[in-house]
Symmetry: C2
Subunit: 646 residues, 2 copies
């Protein structure tokens, strides 16, 4: 009967006769779609504006604690006996597993036969006290940023004078932790035979991961995380630094390189991808017909056939889907069961290291890692009970609000360097990465290795970081020489329009956007804390002259002032004046703008103010003792009758 | 600064000037795509062939136990002290939860504050012994089907003679159980004022769910499950019956109504949807432009705007994604932690009852259900440790193998009736359902209720089942009258080509497909068990004359023979002869074919054989004592020299 069935499709003939017309139609449609795409292209290639964030947004519980400790406190990891005994009890009394299906390996998830081995090891052989000591071999700290206690490992190498020490921020991913980088630290913080620098390493636990506190309210996505980490770097004392990241660490690092282009000196990533970039997606689809358009011949198989890679991605992205929608539900289970937590985390270390490993009964988990190292990482999630809050990052990253920021579509000039391991989950050609990373300098291609490169190939990855940062520095010195040739000289400038300054949202503002406006520029960079009444008076002044006469008020407060007073003020009032970031206003290191402003300065002191006329020339200085509202009497003569109704 | 930014898009003008061309291009593309669709339409509207399944496939561990107990054994649910104490211990020692985000309700999954209440109740107030008694109030049984012990509730109403007792198979979903139907049983198994029938209820635990064993190897999807349930019904003694299902029960019921169209008398579903039907999807997309094409005005909002419903579906389908790819990983956690299990299961009872409930801190879980009833269901998963195997159904249903069967695209003539609750997860208009259900008789529209209708609105659902089955019976009596007018009369038939018979795969075979072939038809329906040597000889005969002379051998074995011998034989050999399902071959109730065959019968006894010539006329009968190979001498004269090389 089977034989006969094969010859029994009466419709085959019809299909053949119509296929010619179909292919014609497909061709014409494709051509038209091509044209249409060109127009869409024009629209989608206009980059979105850089969103502006409140750099001091509060993520702890209300009310804001104005007197909280902002110091950096030493911290020690502890696997207490309470934690250990409770964990061992749970492992001992774990419930009988459902046996795996015959020959299923890891294809239905973590194989429960092998899970037994992992848990027995954890229960009986994992040396908690040894591992605690191991984790504490580097210095740990905590400090409160925006209401959250943020944990970080800080490795400051002691080297001779001729070796430069370069700050490097290292960002882990999910389901990883600061522990991922331990094998790399040795390599990065010691002099390298080929380079004259080493790294000072700052390795935080991302907020909500491990020993860093989690936000208490919705809305804390990768961008908000980037702001916290950036503020952590400032707290430690770094305003310029390099960043390395993979997985979630890539995403947060990429956002930092987007929002803080003047602060991040270079971005090294071992998961170089644009997560959400319609044009990149369109190119990728187009490439399935014409691969050489976007990808080098020798890397083609990492991306095409698209259907095969898409199928794998679909197979491996269930965790994203559930973490993006129901992190708390699955979190309830993983919080309560070390068995579940180990299976959930370690499954990734098998399949993401090499997709083919899922065919093996043990997921070849021990092929590249030791159980001790893997369980160190699981322990960090277990001891801190942070799996739920770590998973919430996916909810926030996939929220409409976050996607609408289109962060991946905003170009960055930060020099960027990717390393592409063979078995990484997603591959993206350099041509697409350059849509965002305008100074994408290089991709290192590795014909081995997977998603957890820091743990799997620490030496190779560390070497790549050295090479990348060396290249970044070269890039900057070339850039600097070029810039110096074109920089405005503060002494020779005619007006303020030639200068630029960072505003409070991290945006570099060219002051020519104030052309034609009378300005009051306030030096609030000194010790005196600005009182709310000062803000109120400034706002009142603007209320009177802003719309009617085009007055603008530019405020350069100290970090501390921004940090507390301004936050409280702005939550209650609509702030109309323009706030800039802290700069030096005096002496050798003064910001060029301030050097220029003070050339003809006649008064000084805290909260001194300068009126700049509508041609950009600073005319009059007033002391800090003059109430802002008293400027009213002086301003009148500056307003040009041509400018009305702003 | 913000004000200015608004006026700063230099590309706006370009966009406007090109929009006219864009809209033209869109129009032309749409027209061409329309034409293309027409051709694709022709291709995708050709229904796939009904796949053929081994109705006796073995799903237990090997080797097959030939002497196993095939009886129906009474069964009692037990919540033993061991189970209860272990569970209470785990609930007592549950780990501290991660607090929910501020005002998050159930939007990040099960709210952990409310989870505390649920678990406290389970631990301290849920009366295990009472509930055990409650669950045992109906008769439970187990019986072994294809190597799996299948559990079912069996309710046989005792009613007076004038009330008909109609068999109804009730299929639960995920994460439900037989418990879902308890509130409906009372209503369905007692005489209804409006109808002259009641239901005999067969309520199985789906294989891998609750008290039914799970298969031990991959490949057990909805179709394989349908075969097991169908065989269960036969074991109980029902060859014709009605089916009700929702959720996974809908899917399995729908497959039964597809594969066993002569056995399922009617299909009632409270989740009437086609899961995987490209044409239905195409129509649904088309309907977003032109809704009235596919959906009634008053139901439009249940489907459109599509983006909104799609968004919700995406939000609610993370569990499908992870269960379809990594059921064993998440299973490890849910097996080990009653906290996790309760959160995972009960989250669905909140959000799937009404999407809006997720805004509430308690998910309004107690608005429609009592905790006791909800926990009955959770207890069934917990006590049987069946969550992992239940979730594997999603892996099998989403496997390439299962999707390639295109079961939803195969039409069925089984009369079908849907009830559509307002908050059901997916809505599909009748017009699309009719693509598959050729006799889709009616949709009941309910302006309330959600996914768990049996538990939420048992009375309304039970009434609907009564009405549906009443309509099904009317449908059949009309159909039967019509059929009787057109049936071939066995006495007057000229050859066997006018008859049909069900083959072993459940397919209705019209015998005219044997036209021109010489046939040996074997009556193996009697008591004597067929020996392997008989099969071997039949196969040998075919080997000699099958390809060269076009000989076909048709075997009508008894159920028992098929069940054991044939299975063993076919796993070792490639069976070339055509096997049919058990039929009566003698007497009043004999199958029409057999009445016709035996009109001129000259010999009888077990394993008797008849040669039918190449014109379909039965010529010679041979006794069971004649070895099949001895037919060789008789066959030669029948072969027509025109037919060669089959």
């Amino acid at each position: 009967m089977t034989k006969k069935a094969e010859n029994k499709n009466p419709n085959k003939k019809n299909q053949n006769s119509s296929s010619h017309i179909v292919s014609k139609l497909i061709f014409i449609s494709a051509a038209l779609i091509g044209l249409l795409s060109f127009y869409i292209y024009n629209i989608i290639t206009i980059p979105p504006e850089v969103p502006q964030f409140d750099l001091n947004q509060w993520w702890g519980p209300y009310p804001i604690d104005l007197n909280r400790d902002l110091s950096i406190r030493p911290f020690t990891i502890e696997f207490t006996d309470v934690i250990i005994n409770d964990l061992r009890e749970r492992l001992l009394h774990r419930r009988e597993f459902t046996p795996p299906l015959e020959d299923a390996g890891f294809t239905y998830g973590f194989n429960s036969n092998f899970l037994t081995q992992v848990l027995d090891y954890w229960q009986n052989k994992y040396n908690f006290k040894d591992r605690e000591q191991f984790l504490n071999r580097y210095n740990h700290f905590k400090t409160n940023i925006q209401g959250l206690d943020i944990h970080f490992v800080h490795v400051k190498p002691q080297v001779s004078n001729h070796i430069h020490v370069i700050p490097l921020l290292m960002l882990h991913g999910w389901p990883g932790s600061f522990r991922e980088f331990y094998e790399m630290i040795v390599k990065l913080a010691r002099p390298h035979p080929s380079y004259n620098f080493v790294f000072e390493l700052i390795i935080p636990s991302l907020p909500g991961f491990g020993y860093s506190e989690a936000p208490v309210r919705p809305g804390f996505g990768p961008a908000e995380m980037a702001v916290v980490i950036r503020n952590l770097m400032r707290r430690i004392g770094h305003e310029r630094y390099y960043v390395h990241g993979g997985d979630a660490g890539h995403i947060v690092g990429s956002v930092m390189a987007t929002l803080f282009q003047d602060e991040v000196l270079g971005f090294h990533t071992n998961m170089p991808v644009l997560m959400y970039h319609p044009l990149a997606t369109a190119y990728t689809l187009l490439g399935s017909i014409w691969p050489s358009l976007i990808v080098e011949k020798e890397l083609e198989s990492r991306l095409y056939p698209l259907s095969q890679h898409f199928q794998r991605h679909l197979e491996e992205s269930g965790y994203i889907h559930i973490q993006a929608t129901k992190p708390d539900t699955i979190g309830a289970a993983l919080t309560d069961s070390p068995t579940g937590l180990a299976a959930y985390i370690l499954e990734k270390f098998s399949t993401w290291t090499n997709y083919e490993y899922k065919k093996a009964a043990d997921g070849k988990l021990l092929m590249k890692y030791s159980l001790t190292h893997l369980l160190d990482n699981v322990m960090i999630y277990w001891a801190t009970n942070s799996i739920t809050t770590s998973m919430r990052l996916y909810s926030e990253a996939c929220s409409k609000r976050n996607l609408a920021l289109k962060l991946d579509q905003i170009p960055t000039n930060v020099p960027t360097w990717g390393i592409k391991f063979k078995h990484e989950l997603i591959f993206q050609p350099d041509s697409l990465l350059r849509l965002k990373y305008k100074n994408y300098l290089h991709s290192t291609i590795v014909e081995d290795g997977g998603h957890f490169a820091a743990l799997e190939m620490p030496d190779l990855l560390a070497d790549d970081v050295f090479e990348a940062v060396d290249t970044f520095m070269e890039f900057h010195s070339g850039k600097k020489a070029e810039q110096e040739r074109n920089l405005p000289k503060d002494e020779t400038a005619k007006n303020i329009y030639e200068f630029t300054a960072l505003n409070v949202y991290g945006k570099n503002v060219k002051l020519d956007e104030y052309k034609g406006h009378v300005l009051v520029i306030v030096d609030a960079s000194n010790q005196r804390s600005i009182a709310n009444s000062d803000y109120e008076q400034l706002n009142e002044l603007l209320y009177k002259y802003g719309n009617s006469k085009g007055l603008r008020i530019l405020l350069f407060p100290s970090q501390h002032n921004v940090y507390i007073n301004l936050y409280n003020f702005s939550v209650k009032n609509h702030v109309e004046f323009d706030i800039f970031q802290k700069v030096e206003t005096n002496g050798e290191n003064a910001h060029p703008l301030w050097k220029f402003l003070k050339q003809k300065k006649t008064t000084s002191g805290d909260f001194s103010k300068c009126i700049v006329d509508s041609k950009g020339v600073p005319i009059e200085w007033f002391s800090g003792n003059l109430d802002p509202l008293d400027l009213d009497g002086f301003l009148d003569g500056y307003f040009n009758s041509d400018i009305e109704d702003y």
